[in-house]
Symmetry: C2
Subunit: 214 residues, 2 copies
């Protein structure tokens, strides 16, 4: 695995990541870029100022969300699609296996990331941190259901899929590690905490504000 | 493309799909099985009776959700993971291209399906049909944002990704076509309606209760 000190450029145009420092979704993309040792430029999008609702931004991403990745003439929106793109184009099969069984395993955890973790853990955090109007208790219940599934799965495994780090781990990691910011404790989830430590030990790991190093 | 009249079996063990007739997520799996002409057995899971919370079912799927697909000794939970599995194992690259650009395009729409469509359109429908306690207006707003993105994208395209029907279409189709059951009208979305008609015209298409043939 290449660390960030061995950055590669492609035709002199580093990739550009539209990003916000407090977004777990944006962090997924930034983390995999770093783990892959890919040079990239960060474009800070000020969500509170409505930078993501301008015509220019909506031309990049009609959903008005970060992250967006620009790689030459390619524009990729959606955090999970960006993980798939980076893994497929720049990561061989290391981060996303192509065989049916391996890819299916990875996809199962991408679905958990977009479901229990995003609409549970991330929304609970958004209620407390960004004053969003979601029902906190409903989000917490959904998020904790996700943590229980992760805990049981990780009880006898190091990584979520195919016995090695993949984009399944990268997709699930940020909002799990940020759960305490949504007042959801990770104390009952020892296997999840150990897995968080393993992710943080990957060569090229970068920090995100709100996530404590173990 | 093989229709359902040319069903294939694998070693004499048809696949088994744990399914509920009113679930759009379960329908995604059933629809692709039919489009691929794959013989399968339907196991009806009575959600109202708690069939999905039994120990036996949770051993199949720790998330307690349908659909679940059993293919020989493989157990696959999650509707999107099942689509990926069927496409990879039984569909060549027809339904899920393996090149980075094509796969990324498909993944973008799987993300929309799991986000705006599932937590918007499907939840709005679940409030009205199944008395779920979600905030209807929040779900409707999110779902309509998804429909607007689909409408703009389909204005000059027949299919969501790579100019042919893929699992992107299968993932997005059910909860879009079911939106009127959530009191969300499709009248403002002419391109979406035309796309619904194209999906229904695919050889092997099967009906779902609640979805009207155009």
């Amino acid at each position: 695995m290449m660390g960030p000190n061995f950055a590669r450029t492609f035709g002199g145009h580093p990739m550009k990541l539209y990003h916000a420092a407090n977004s777990g979704n944006a962090f997924k993309a930034r983390l995999l870029l770093s783990l892959l040792g890919l040079e990239h430029e960060i474009v800070d999008v000020k969500l509170a100022a409505g930078d993501n609702r301008t015509d220019a931004f909506l031309a990049l991403n009609p959903r008005g969300q970060i992250p967006v990745l620009v790689d030459g003439d390619r524009v990729i929106w959606d955090s999970q699609a960006i993980l798939v793109y980076l893994a497929r184009r720049h990561g061989g099969e290391d981060w996303l296996p192509l065989d049916a069984d391996g890819m299916t395993e990875v996809m199962q955890w991408l679905a958990v990331a977009e479901n229990e973790l995003l609409f549970g853990l991330a929304r609970a955090r958004a209620v407390l941190l960004f004053d969003r109007a979601w029902n906190y208790e409903q989000c917490k219940t959904l998020g904790e259901a996700g943590l229980q599934v992760l805990e049981a799965h990780l009880a006898d495994r190091d990584w979520l899929a195919v016995d090695r780090p993949t984009i399944a781990d990268i997709a699930c990691y940020p909002y799990v590690a940020l759960a305490p910011e949504g007042n959801i404790s990770l104390s009952p989830y020892a296997a999840v905490q150990a897995w968080i430590g393993r992710v943080q030990g990957l060569p090229g790991y970068v920090d995100m504000v709100g996530i404590t190093r173990q």
